[in-house]
């Protein structure tokens, strides 16, 4: 058998060096292809900017403050909408998954609302609250709140019955079971729900900013399109990607710090 045999067997481990090499190779090939197309003049630079142009756009954007201003604005909107949604969704979701009475009250309406695409509500929200900060926060709130509610309700529904029952047999009251058992048991799932929905919140924000805005990264991208500044469009997209990566790492860090019992081997 050749030494590469294991590389083609399903679900087999490969040496870490081979793993890294393949990942790096693919990244280099994609980047090389981009360089070839743009520097080689195979595609017009107003369609596909060169890497240098994107870096230059970043330097310019940082220099005149426009990039930082729009980024800060978008991050502010995201955080406001997301935190507001989470403050309500976490406790309500836990209630919904654990108390049938809360489920009866909230689940039917939530299931209806969550299938309404938020993007379809944007015109209505503009009509009601304009195109400013509050409209963006409202879009993010509606987009994330109902999804969070459903996911967190499922998390709390899946807390093992035996875990609650054993607590009763240890002398716990209902109240103690909720505060000391049910809530801690949902935390890892809640954390995951927040991490996933924060990613979605970015999509809703950019859509809202593309439809109507005068600040923010979506606006930055749209405005660059009007002037055919593809390098700035690339820059805007890259910044959103980096921020996504950053928040994901932040959640990972928080989970390791706050919930060490989920990560121990």
């Amino acid at each position: 058998m050749s030494r590469f045999d294991a590389y083609f067997a399903p679900k087999k481990e490969i040496p870490p060096r081979a793993y890294l090499t393949v990942s790096a190779l693919v990244a280099i090939v994609v980047f090389g292809f981009w360089c070839l197309l743009s520097y080689g003049g195979l595609v017009r630079t107003d369609f596909l900017p060169t890497p240098t142009a994107v870096v230059q756009a970043a330097i310019d954007g940082l220099g005149d403050g426009s990039l930082l201003r729009d980024t800060a604005f978008s991050v502010g909107e995201i955080m406001s909408g997301f935190i507001l949604a989470s403050i309500f969704a976490v406790p309500l979701g836990i209630l919904m998954g654990s108390f049938k009475i809360a489920e009866a009250a909230l689940e039917p309406i939530t299931n209806f609302v969550r299938y309404l695409p938020v993007s379809a509500l944007i015109p209505l929200l503009i009509l009601w609250i304009g195109i400013g900060w509050s409209e963006k926060v409202a879009v993010i709130f509606i987009g994330t709140f109902f999804q969070q509610l459903i996911i967190i309700a499922d998390v709390s529904r899946n807390v093992s019955h035996d875990l609650l029952d054993v607590s009763y047999t240890l002398g716990a009251s209902r109240r103690t079971v909720v505060t000391r058992v049910l809530i801690p048991a949902t935390l890892p799932g809640v954390m995951d729900a927040l991490r996933v929905t924060l990613g979605w919140a970015w999509t809703y924000l950019v859509v809202a900013e593309l439809v109507a805005a005068n600040k923010g990264l979506g606006y930055f991208i749209l405005n660059s399109m009007r002037g055919l500044f593809t390098d700035r469009i690339f820059l805007g997209i890259a910044v959103i990607g980096l921020l996504g990566l950053l928040t994901d790492q932040l959640f990972k860090f928080l989970r390791d710090r706050l919930l060490p019992w989920t990560v121990v081997a």
Binding site: S160, D162, L163, D165, V166, S167, Y168, T169, L170, G171, A172, T176, R180, V181, P184, A185, L187, L259, P260, W261, T262, V264, A265
Partner: protein, 258 residues
């Protein structure tokens, strides 16, 4: 007077879909103080429901259950329970798991620590105090669960197939550990299992249940000498008891399938 009296208890429930089910049918039995009683029965006979009734986690349709003469109306720490599934709190260390009942009972940190240490050493888990459940094997988790139930000093210990999910070597070790602990604590125990050898090895009395609706088919006194070890399972009187109980269960299992 018996420590535990199950007095003419029946359980009927109606699932969300389908017809009412008679799970338990007029069951009466008593467990005396310091006695180890085991219930065996074919799967689905309602033996776990019976234990949950004693724990107060569900209510009987008719009849009454009394512990030390007091009727059971809700779960309480006088009836400690060990489940088949792993029920340690994953966010608490081993020591804090054992201390859980004591803490909500309002005991001081010092007193809790002392009791936790004592029971962790009884189940052979000194040195694991600060580990999280995720770092333990199945057998170790069940030992912590046992220590946690015992630390609360219940009047009766309810065990619902606690070793059912363990491999057979670990199960034997756990049975010996339980026998050893029982020999000097003399807790009143009601133990559920579908494993006939386990029932005979552990019990003073073995109650054989019928297929659904569950009723007590026969009470068998196990007069094998104590202290017992796993070696007892090969002795002729043990095998005779096993043959007898197997025949009883076999009839019921066939009836359940029929």
């Amino acid at each position: 007077m018996s420590k535990l009296e199950i007095d003419d208890v029946s359980l009927r429930f109606t699932p969300r879909k389908g017809n009412a089910v008679q799970a338990l049918d007029h069951i009466s039995l008593g467990v005396a103080d310091n006695e180890f009683s085991v219930i065996v029965g074919p799967s689905g006979c309602g033996k776990s429901s019976l234990l949950r009734l004693v724990a107060g986690l569900i209510e009987p349709t008719t009849g009454e259950i009394r512990v030390s003469g007091r009727p059971v109306t809700r779960p309480g720490k006088d009836r400690g329970m060990v489940f088949q599934s792993y029920t340690l709190f994953p966010w608490l260390t081993v020591r804090k798991n054992v201390e859980f009942g004591l803490k909500i009972g309002g005991l001081s940190a010092d007193a809790r620590g002392k009791i936790a240490r004592r029971f962790l050493s009884e189940v052979g888990l000194e040195g694991f105090e600060n580990n999280y459940p995720k770092q333990l094997s199945g057998g170790m988790m069940q030992r912590v669960a046992l220590a946690r139930a015992l630390a609360n000093d219940p009047e009766i210990l309810l065990m619902d197939e606690p070793f059912g999910a363990l491999d057979s070597q670990t199960r034997s070790l756990m049975q010996e550990l339980l026998l050893k602990i029982w020999e000097h604590s003399k807790k009143t125990v009601l133990f559920i299992t579908h494993d006939i050898e386990e029932a005979i090895l552990l019990g003073d009395h073995v109650y054989v249940m019928t297929a659904r609706p569950g009723a007590i088919k026969e009470k068998i006194d196990i007069d094998l000498p104590r202290p017992r070890t796993v070696e007892a399972t090969t002795s002729p009187p043990f095998i005779a008891l096993k043959r007898r109980i197997m025949a009883l269960i076999h009839d019921e299992a066939v009836r359940a399938l029929g």
